[in-house]
């Protein structure tokens, strides 16, 4: 039995728009529909898709905040919207855009309150708090009210808050939004450790595909409310018919290189860009180029996931 089980899930929103002084129109937005997937314990799943695809709506249904319009949803064998408070003890949620901490209270008070709310026993709370404060480098910030924290500091506080009760599942909705490169790197490292050491199941949405590359073995791509891809990151490349790029620096300028199995996309002085299917081997192409031209240097670029996804959208 999987930990998260989603079948034919749908959620529509009714939106009322004023389109004149007196007239109002009512329309329905299908934020999520025909969504089916399941996630096992210990997985790290990236949930990606363009703006408005339905990622946050899905997370809110998984936590029980939003009631699904139809479909079946089970998380840890509970029905989220009906057993929301019970489920809350077993999951952690981080909304990148908004804090779940108490705005006016110092971090220390927020954490203390969480201990009481989740009824974590004092020793375990102290142990977890010490560990996360150390790992996320929060020591100097404990007495600062949340509203005075910077975005990155607040995010670390939010992540600690979501983990103090040892949740089985951690949902992260755009956890790296607005963070600098170093903070992103640290956060990824932290999440990887969390998953490896505690076996916490992670589901994260992001627009930064490096998050996915660094963390997730599995990706679910959602577009217009429904999953268009579900599988290992590697397969996403095949599915999107993505191409790798061979960058060739010739000794002298030359007309576009012509070798079998590759296409020359761009020529700029002595430098030329050749692309070939990501699934194919680079070796014969490199050999063919080297055999016919004077090559100064060669390098291979992996496909950009963003392009891959764009191709899925274009093709699907």
């Amino acid at each position: 039995m999987s930990l998260i089980d989603v079948r034919d899930l749908a959620r529509t929103f009714v939106v009322r728009r004023r389109n004149g002084a007196l007239t109002r129109s009512r329309s329905e937005v299908r934020a999520v529909h025909d969504l089916t997937f399941s996630i096992g314990a210990g997985e790290m799943v990236g949930y990606i898709g363009p703006n408005g695809a339905g990622k946050s709506t899905t997370i809110k249904m998984l936590t029980g905040i939003l009631v699904p319009s139809s479909g079946r949803l089970r998380v840890a064998e509970l029905e989220p919207s009906r057993q929301r408070t019970e489920l809350a003890r077993r999951i952690g949620v981080v909304f990148g855009q908004r804090t779940t901490l108490w705005w006016d209270l110092p971090l220390r008070d927020s954490f203390e309150l969480l201990q009481k709310i989740y009824r974590v026993d004092a020793a375990r709370h102290r142990r977890n708090l010490e560990e996360y404060v150390e790992l996320l480098d929060l020591g100097d910030l404990l007495d600062t009210p949340v509203r005075q924290l910077s975005l990155g500091q607040r995010m670390r506080g939010d992540i600690t808050a979501a983990l103090l009760h040892d949740p089985e599942i951690l949902y992260l909705d755009e956890p790296t939004i607005g963070l600098d490169v170093i903070s992103k790197g640290r956060l990824r490292e932290f999440l990887r450790t969390l998953n490896a050491e505690r076996g916490t199941t992670l589901m994260l949405t992001t627009h930064d595909l490096q998050d996915i590359e660094a963390l997730c073995d599995r990706v679910i791509v959602i577009d217009h409310g429904t999953a268009v891809f579900d599988g290992p990151l590697g397969d996403l490349h095949h599915r999107g018919e993505s191409r790798r790029t061979l960058v060739v620096d010739l000794v002298d300028e030359a007309p576009p290189i012509a070798v079998p199995g590759a296409e020359t996309r761009k020529v700029e002085g002595p430098r030329q860009w050749l692309t070939f299917p990501a699934g194919a081997s680079a070796a014969p192409i490199v050999a063919a180029v080297a055999a016919s031209y004077d090559v100064a240097d060669l390098s291979i670029q992996e496909p950009d996931i963003e392009d891959v996804i764009r191709q899925i959208y274009a093709g699907g």
Partner: protein, 265 residues
């Protein structure tokens, strides 16, 4: 239930602690609300410099009605008054955070920014009630009805606060709307129901049943008779009204929460 209560106390305690970090401002606010809620009774007092009875009630008896109405709304206001802020919490996106915690949403909303200064209304209403209660011919039955009245009155106003706030799940800006029924209703209760037109009396009994928060049980305690022509047993029916209120309120609240749509971002 016990957990919910413990969580309420834990959250409220933190807010009290943080408000007491600025004692001067805390006391200024508390004394301020004492004065501003007390001014109502001063009005009644002044009225009685021209009158000896009003609707068949003398000043002390008016004080009894006043004190009990203030206690009923004061208790509800202290404990759940913050539910009126739900529309604001929704707009700020705070509800999602609350809903991801293992404590009933209502408890979190009401305990959030718990304001101890709201105790002013209770202190002030309680003071007037003690003064007014001095003149009552107490019997065990009357004392029992007093206790039940205060509990039921609190529950009835609790219901009004929460039920009317449910509207904010759909329109975030409706706190004035619920104020009209809660604080507005409580100020009607400062006067004998018999001075209002019969339709008002009926409305406050069967539609918005706040007359059970003080009027009917007060008739029993003060040994008076209703001149509106409604049956006597209503004097002891407050627990029924409170129970109905709880049922209506919990249905409305659940309905509201299930229709919560969160915010787009």
């Amino acid at each position: 239930m016990g957990d919910a209560l413990a969580a309420y106390v834990a959250i409220a305690r933190l807010w009290v602690r943080s408000s007491l970090e600025y004692p001067a401002s805390f006391w200024a606010m508390t004394v301020g609300s004492l004065l501003s809620t007390g001014i109502d009774f001063v009005g009644i007092w002044v009225m009685f410099s021209h009158l000896t009875t009003y609707g068949g009630f003398d000043l002390r008896q008016m004080g009894f009605l006043y004190g009990t109405s203030q206690l009923a709304i004061g208790l509800a206001d202290l404990v759940v008054g913050n539910v009126e802020r739900i529309g604001m919490q929704i707009r700020l996106g705070r509800l999602d955070a609350m809903m991801s915690k293992p404590v009933p949403l209502l408890v979190q909303i009401c305990a959030d920014q718990f304001a101890l200064r709201r105790i002013a209304r209770i202190v002030q209403g309680g003071g007037v009630l003690i003064w007014a209660g001095w003149a009552v011919d107490w019997t065990p039955a009357r004392a029992g009805v007093l206790v039940s009245m205060l509990a039921c009155g609190g529950v009835i106003f609790f219901g009004l606060f929460v039920s009317f706030s449910c509207v904010q799940f759909w329109t975030a800006d409706a706190s004035e709307f619920s104020n009209a029924f809660t604080y507005g209703g409580a100020s009607l209760l400062e006067y004998p129901l018999s001075v209002f037109p019969k339709q008002v009396a009926l409305g406050l009994t069967f539609i918005l049943p706040i007359a059970f928060a003080n009027w009917y049980p007060s008739l029993f305690i003060l040994g008076k008779h209703d001149t509106t022509g409604l049956p006597h047993w209503l004097e002891l029916a407050s627990p029924v009204a409170a129970l109905v209120m709880i049922l209506v309120t919990s249905t409305a609240w659940r309905f509201g929460v299930r229709h919560y749509t969160s915010t787009g971002s």
